[in-house]
Assembly symmetry: C2
Homo-oligomer: 461 residues x 2
């Protein structure tokens, strides 16, 4: 049997694990410096927790887990009936009581709802875990991928948005990825809809605006016509989409265009506060009134991150929402959150060569195996080096040096160490740096000196 | 709707996450110092990869994922037929093509089989990921739990066993858990079977011996009788189980008892080599001929770890196997591996209070919110402290001090910081340590001094 991986899933070998850990560790540390604390939830949730939360299309993409014990004869008839329901596009607990999490937001909401009595609010959590979606796999889209979210819930204060903007800024600065932090406010989009045909047009307008990047202004106007907006309304929307200039210039223009809408003006006030606050500390915040963030549950500030120098979709996004836990019976939990698109950030860093020189987690020194007696003499030195933090391997069998050299080269191990029978008697060790050819015999009892030699920068031949 | 967690699964809040990370980080670092490198495989595997690998009982406990797209009318008839197969205790790819991994060994074998052309052997990997089993949940047994494995494959050298013994020793030394590393060799058990009725009795003898701890010698003898062993044979097994004394004394006795079996003598030679090697460096290695490690695929050295001062099952185990990847069509890949039982290690550390003083990952200082103007003055100081590595929060709204003090107390934040309008003018900051009552006004531009104050050990009131 020739084994294979399920479509849309990946093995991560150590090179990839180290790069991903570097990204996640950088972000994790920043979250913690801002007072966010980690949460981990199980991979599987009760099916009722997940179904109906992501729209009809989402329900189909949730991986459902087959119940165990279906070979119990007493259950056969009911299970047959359950299957008929599945054919109708429904799910049935007779067949599947559990499913794999589809994102980190609903499990977080479920956690807050279950524990709201004992949590201290505002509650700041971050969560970095895989999620699963039965999407058609394609380049850059996987069926198992990590999400990396942080949210503050239980507070409507705009200071939370300020903090999240600074988290984005510091994370991408630390990763050395040049980005633009794009910002808008759903209240302004709502205000635009209010002025162009009323609140019930908000969805139509948002869907059309969301496509601007891909299809261009003319097509957006066509779509708006099809969606029943009239010439005068489309004209306002065109003016809206044509707002350009510095952040301040844009704010002035929007205030003129949407002055009739109280909602929009509230959105402008919020944006002005954030932009003022960030103006000295975060250079890359860019107002973008065309930013809509699809059809989700956001109600205030929305964010999106674009890499400045690499063509790639958004590498992060988020926003404010009014009601995290209402669906689970707990009211009045507003919040704001952001997420980092780990797979895309990885791709951007590869393209910009940003991992170079940052990862040095492979084995540092290979001890040659000269035989059973020599190993026993070398082993205490090996152990002391490991205790001093040096990643050290011992070749597994006493074969020709040639083969041992090749092993070191193939694994990219820079140093080799030799302790033969004479060296044991004299307390000596020979260390050689393969890329440069440097080598030296030294005192095997002076561990500090060996460590120092292993940490010396050397030029390749 | 009142939300709940699936049976046998857990949320990990930040206190637990930090403790678990401490354990995993300690072990991970030691793996890497011994030249092991991380591997991550997907949560789901093709169902053919998993089924038939864990015995009939195991097959039932594998969580299978329902195929998506079952509402496609063209598939209905076939899916109905598939369900009838499920009722017969078989699985059907028409219904389920994927399943959640049940352990880390089979996915590792699948990875090695798929990539053996490009891997450098001996290949040393570690893997720390959750696995899922549809076991009946009970105290200490979960349906989602982490495994933590390291294996060397492609080498039959005993030096690998030496390294694994030292990894165990260093890991538990670092975690400060007193343990006994119990060791045996399957060749000795095979030799015992050889002498007592032939190789075909190995399974019967192993099963019976494995129960010694739980049921005692008399019951083991009864079971052996039931399993068809005669008086003479049982007498040999009793002598075997009664071997006591120091490691060396035990080796001498086994050499006398099983001298007729070449296999057993090879096992003794291997054990003697390991015990000799470890005698100066690892004090806690204990020969235990009653150790059997159940009915698995081990063929040479076997290990098991017991906490010395806490009553708990084994907190680690492993051994040598002949053939990792044969099931996947790749021959001649012997190996040896060990695993750490993370959940039990966690429980032992809680019981021995070993986490105390080791985790300090909560927020260190809370800045009080005195209003919009004051926040803007304080924010640059907050940002500089974060850059200096201090975990810093800003209270989200300008409410009474009382409420802000309470927040700090509830969250266990030791320091609070106050920058009011006067302090802004004078470049001052007031820092107060809540547990001791210590407080001081200092220069807000001297970040080093503030950091030093925050890092000072202070006595509680």
């Amino acid at each position: 049997m020739k084994p294979s991986l399920p479509q849309g899933t990946r093995d991560f070998s150590h090179e990839v694990v180290y790069k991903r850990q570097y990204i996640l560790q950088t972000i994790r540390q920043i979250f913690e410096r801002y007072g966010f604390q980690p949460l981990e939830t199980p991979a599987m949730e009760n099916i009722d927790t997940l179904m109906g939360k992501y729209g009809e299309e989402g329900d189909k993409l949730i991986f459902k887990i087959l119940n165990n014990g279906l070979d119990n004869p007493n259950k056969e008839q009911k299970t047959r009936e359950a299957l008929e329901e599945v054919f109708q596009g429904k799910w049935s607990k007779q067949l599947t009581e559990r499913a794999l999490r589809y994102d980190l937001t609903i499990p977080f909401a479920r956690f807050v709802a279950m524990n709201h009595g004992s949590l201290v609010f505002p509650f700041k959590r971050y969560q970095i875990q895989p999620v699963w979606r039965a999407d058609r796999p394609q380049r850059g889209r996987y069926r198992e991928f990590y999400q990396c979210d942080c949210d503050v819930v239980g507070s409507s204060s705009l200071i939370n948005e300020v903090e999240l903007i600074h988290i984005y800024d510091q994370a991408f600065t630390s990763l050395q990825i040049p980005v633009s932090i794009q910002i808008n406010n759903r209240k302004i989009l709502a205000g635009l809809a209010e002025i162009c045909g009323g609140q019930e047009q908000l969805t139509d307008i948002t869907i059309a605006i969301d496509k601007l990047d891909k299809i261009g202004l003319e097509k957006v106007k066509e779509e708006l016509t099809q969606r029943g907006l009239d010439q005068a309304q489309i004209e306002v929307i065109e003016q809206y989409l044509n707002i350009k200039g510095s952040n301040n210039e844009q704010l002035t223009q929007i205030e003129q265009l949407l002055s009739e809408s109280k909602q929009a003006m509230l959105g402008v006030t919020e944006l002005r506060y954030l932009l003022d606050f960030a103006k000295d500390s975060v250079k890359s915040v860019q107002l973008d009134f065309t930013l809509a963030r699809g059809l989700n549950y956001y109600t205030g500030t929305i964010f999106e991150i674009k890499a400045s120098t690499v063509k790639m979709g958004s590498i992060g996004g988020g926003g404010r929402y009014d009601d995290l836990t209402g669906l689970f019976g707990v009211k009045d939990v507003p919040g704001v959150g952001i997420s980092f698109g780990i797979d895309r950030i990885y791709d951007v860093m590869e393209e910009l060569n940003l991992f170079e020189g940052k990862l040095s987690q492979g084995t540092e020194v290979l001890f040659f195996n000269l035989g059973s007696y020599e190993i026993q003499g070398a082993y205490p030195v090996i152990q002391k080096l490991r205790q001093a933090g040096i990643r050290t391997e011992l070749y597994h069998e006493p074969v020709k040096f040639d083969k041992q050299f090749k092993f070191a080269e193939k694994k990219g191990i820079p140093y080799i160490a030799i302790i033969g029978s004479e060296e044991i008697t004299d307390n000596k060790i020979t260390i050689k740096h393969l890329p440069s050819g440097w080598q030296e015999q030294m005192d095997s009892t002076n561990i500090d000196h060996i460590v120092q030699a292993l940490h010396t920068q050397r030029e390749d031949k």
